[in-house]
Symmetry: C2
Subunit: 124 residues, 2 copies
DNA sequence: CATTGATATCGACAGATGCCAATGTGGAGT
DNA sequence: ACTCCACATTGGCATCTGTCGATATCAATG
């Protein structure tokens, strides 16, 4: 079950290089997002009313089989991007906003690279 | 060469579901970040002085061979995360801040899911 | 122009990944 | 208890991916 828990970190990528451990953990999360079906699953769940969607909502949105959807959901859950809850016959998935926030903050290099605060502007 | 160009989009994931096209394009970018070596390469380049790093800086930071680093750089360049410039014998890589900003904004669901602005709070 | 140093490409191979059909499981209704 | 439905797991298969050694390219230098 719980494979990923440490959500304390992270300074943005532009701060200092990721050590091997953090890189390995974060890479697994990005890899989970690195499949078009899984990325659409996340977007469907994130934008679904009530912040959650059942598997039946998802299988209806794809051409792939139900076992394949189930497999992708398992991957997304293992890396900590989704949680699930069973209610009656249906299983509802919702995103973990803390994880999304961590990734978003990690990729936010706006302060360090784009504006160049005078004095170190883009090398040369 | 230029495989990815359309950087106009995107509303955050929580807005509306990604269509198949956008999902496919973005998934390729996330997949590129979904390898620990590549993620560390991005972090090293992003945090390197002057905003750029040459290949020699990178090969020194990893246990993998120089061809492997070169391969990973090619992947990161193809999806639009890095650009390269040759100066004399050295090739300098730098990140594409617009791409980072796009991904960061895409994953930023803080307005829609985490804070629950009264009225639609995370279901229940 | 031969040499050297930095980087890219090629070819091959083990291991990972995505997919499906078949089957298992767990809850709700009859 | 039997059955139906929603979902998960298993097993197998074709394809993709990361890695390396060998080799090619490209730029500076002698």
């Amino acid at each position: 079950m719980e494979l990923l828990e440490t959500l304390e970190c992270c300074s943005p990528l532009a701060g200092e290089p990721l050590d091997t451990e953090h890189a390995a953990r974060l890479a697994r999360v990005f890899k989970a997002l690195g499949d078009p079906v899984r990325l659409r699953i996340v977007s469907i769940v994130a934008s679904h009313g009530g912040g959650e969607a059942c598997v039946c909502d998802l299988t209806a949105s794809f051409d792939v089989s139900q076992p394949t959807i189930s497999h992708h959901l398992k991957v997304l859950k293992q890396v900590g991007l989704l949680t699930s809850e069973r209610r009656a016959s249906w299983v509802y998935y919702r995103i973990v906003p803390e994880m999304m926030a961590e990734l978003s903050a990690l990729l936010d290099v706006s302060g360090a690279l784009s504006v160049s605060p005078a004095g170190r502007g883009g090398g040369r």
